[in-house]
């Protein structure tokens, strides 16, 4: 079976403009050589701290940005350099859910307008059919049909995110990029939205690229997890493997940071010191070395490539098996 989406060595470097003449002084290497695959019906969790490039990666895949290098192959079609109209049929199959449901819905449009827009853009159906379909969509995400004539700000955060989800599934896509869809919501609402996403996945055989900074959330929904640090993937594997047997020191510290509901379970926390280094001027060698508790001399000079580990499906970018 071929993969639904294949990303090969993707790079997204943003020029940093300097001075009053706006000359390009340096590049912000937000995504720096990422490869990943997503199979049909699968959820890939993408985890990393703020500013590690996970949202940029998502936006590259949905072609909001023009990647600097690399390939994005969707259903065996290379969409990396497609522009304008030729992308339209692809867009039908790749949709996106955004982080902030207040900002991702135009507050001047009614929910009906918002949900109808994908059909108008793709020129699908007549007005009446579209209106009917909009009500079906609302029903699918668990909102009353009378929401049609209401405005986004009349809804709570969770309900708004449901509207965002309804918009993303409107065209029966194959892949949905979820850009931190629950991180702006209350914990109690988070699980409702996650369960909705899981139900929709079963119903429509969707694939998700689930971007989050919270491993606990990702574990709940993902089949596989990829950990990103400073524009690169440092570890990826099955979600149980990653969660229970993390191999990369960065992954370990992320997992140890998950709060445990059991007060007796006082696991040792590995607290990371410092911040994520600037992607404009990343550290030499392994980009994690300034913060790594197991740092060796080698790490400062040689960049570790992704390699397989004792477990076949798990790959890490680290020189050592610590």
């Amino acid at each position: 079976m071929s993969a639904l989406l294949e990303v090969k060595n993707l790079k997204m470097h943003f020029p940093v403009k300097e001075g009053i003449l706006l000359r390009t002084g340096a590049y912000n290497k937000a995504v720096d050589g990422v490869s990943l695959t997503i199979n049909a019906g699968e959820t890939l969790g993408l985890v990393g701290e703020s500013g590690c490039g996970k949202s940029t990666l998502g936006r590259c895949i949905i072609r909001l940005y023009d990647p600097t290098e690399g390939e994005i192959v969707f259903e065996e079609i290379n969409i990396t350099r497609m522009q304008g109209k030729s992308l339209l049929p692809i867009r039908r199959h790749i949709q996106m859910i955004f982080q902030d449901p207040m900002e991702s819905l135009n507050s001047r449009h009614t929910v009906g307008d918002i949900l109808e827009e994908p059909f108008i853009v793709q020129n699908i159906g007549k007005s009446e059919w579209r209106k009917k379909r909009v009500r079906e969509l609302l029903d699918i995400v668990g909102l009353p049909a009378r929401s049609v004539s209401r405005y986004p700000f009349e809804f709570s955060g969770g309900q708004r995110q449901r509207i965002g989800i309804a918009r993303s599934v409107a065209l029966n896509p194959k892949l949905i990029i979820c850009d931190e869809p629950v991180s702006a919501l209350d914990v109690s609402i988070q699980s409702q939205i996650l369960n909705l996403l899981i139900d929709l996945q079963k119903e429509f055989n969707l694939s998700y690229l689930f971007i989050a900074h919270d491993l606990a959330v990702v574990k709940h929904i993902s089949d596989r997890i990829a950990i990103m640090y400073l524009g690169k993937i440092v570890e990826s594997g099955g979600s149980q493997e990653i969660y229970h047997h993390p191999k990369h020191p960065y992954t370990r510290s992320l997992i140890s940071a998950i709060p445990s509901p059991d007060p007796h379970n006082k696991s040792k926390r590995q607290v990371l010191t410092g911040d994520v280094p600037s992607p404009i001027n990343p550290p030499s060698g392994c980009s994690f070395h300034p913060r790594c508790p197991h740092v060796q001399d080698q790490c400062k000079h040689n960049r570790p490539e992704l390699r397989t580990t004792s477990s076949a499906s798990q790959i890490i970018a680290c020189h050592f098996d610590v």
Binding site: L22, R59, I62, L64, G84, L87, L88, R91, R92, Q95, M96, F98, Q99, D100, E103, S104, L105, N106, S107, R108, T110, E117, P118, V121, Q122, S149, Y151, F153, E154, G164, R167
Partner: protein, 347 residues
């Protein structure tokens, strides 16, 4: 009507002050559009020698009416009136039988004459009826203001949208040029220009248009800049919506609201500028009906307070109405305010 417009309209109506202001203003404006039938020194219609005459629409010489002179009949002259009476005819005069440019030659006191039953607001120092001049002046001011507002809205929105949407270098250079342009002293330029050409309405309109769009650019540009990075614009792009469609459906409505709320204020600004120029004597050519000229007369004739008072009250009322309308429009287009009203109505 779609529910959005419906709610906005309801919200606008809910603001009683703004709503009534709009009605009063529209009433005054529409009435002033028919100024020729309200204040004129020609009869609207008259019956003479067994036929009807329409002096407002047609040019009749005195000779045609049976008089002697081959020039247009002077209907206010007792001679002409006697001609009509002698033939058994009648004249239907407008409510105010004077127009804005011809002085009343049969004034009983020295000009400026105080208010009397003949001249309800008195006459100015040229013996012209103040009320007639007021009606024509109001019409000229409002028409001038509306034209200027429309022109500056077109230019301002266009420039602002281009700067905001393309951003970067275009925005940077454009904004600096707008700032330099906006720094020019408009009134001074107009005064210099008035010494070179004889300014008429179109000259003034053209020159003021060159500058009046500037305040709009900032608003539209900021709104477009803000909106184009919104997640919902990103969402629309991800859905494959074209730039033009995004601009029209997601970006411009926001900018248009900002523009629309600005328009009544630009209108009142335009009226004020025209008045100021006329007051200083650099505006419309001498003899034009203008509120500024009325104010200048009031200043020159302090012993005739009806001149200054009339000008002041008219201008004050007009600008107040415009501001009230502007406020109501602004509130009506604010989505959060719409909600407050809708939920209040539901409970």
């Amino acid at each position: 009507m779609n529910p959005v417009t419906r709610r906005r309209l309801d919200q606008f109506k809910a603001n009683r002050r703004g709503y009534h202001s709009l009605w009063i203003f529209m009433l005054l404006f529409v009435l002033s559009l028919f100024a020729e039938f309200i204040a004129n020194n020609k009869p609207i219609v008259m019956h003479h020698e067994d036929r009807y005459w329409f002096p407002i629409f047609e040019y009749y010489t005195e000779a045609e009416l049976g008089g002697e002179l081959p020039i247009e009949a002077q209907y206010w002259e007792p001679y002409v009136q006697k001609l009509v009476e002698d033939s058994g005819g009648w004249m239907l005069w407008p409510l105010i039988p004077y127009n804005y440019k011809n002085p009343d030659l049969y004034l009983e006191s020295a000009a400026p004459a105080p208010p009397s039953y003949k001249h309800w607001l008195g006459t100015d120092d040229g013996g012209k009826d103040v009320l007639a001049r007021l009606i024509y002046g109001f019409r000229l001011s409002v028409l001038f203001g509306i034209t200027l507002t429309i022109l500056s809205a077109l230019i301002g929105v266009f420039v602002g949208a281009i700067q905001g949407y393309f951003g970067g270098m275009i925005d940077l250079v454009g904004q600096r040029m707008v700032e330099v342009w906006g720094g020019l002293p408009v009134l001074l330029l107009l005064i210099i220009l008035a010494s070179v050409v004889e300014p008429n309405v179109f000259w003034l309109l053209g020159i003021l248009t060159l500058f009046s769009w500037i305040p709009l650019v900032g608003v539209v540009r900021a709104e477009v800049l803000r909106t184009r990075n919104f997640e919902y614009v990103r969402a629309a792009r991800a859905a494959g919506v074209s730039d033009l469609y995004i601009l029209r459906r997601h970006v411009m409505p926001n900018a248009m609201v900002a523009t629309l709320t600005f328009l009544p204020f630009i209108l009142s600004g335009a009226v004020t500028t025209l008045t100021a120029l006329d007051f200083l004597g650099f505006g419309l050519p001498a003899g034009s009906p203008s509120l500024g000229e009325l104010l200048a007369q009031g200043k020159a004739n302090l012993h005739a307070p009806w001149l200054g008072l009339t000008g002041f009250i008219t201008l004050g009322v007009m600008l107040t109405l415009l501001i009230f309308i502007g406020e109501a429009v602004r509130d009506a287009l604010d989505p959060r305010r719409i909600m407050a009203v809708a939920s209040a109505a539901a409970t």
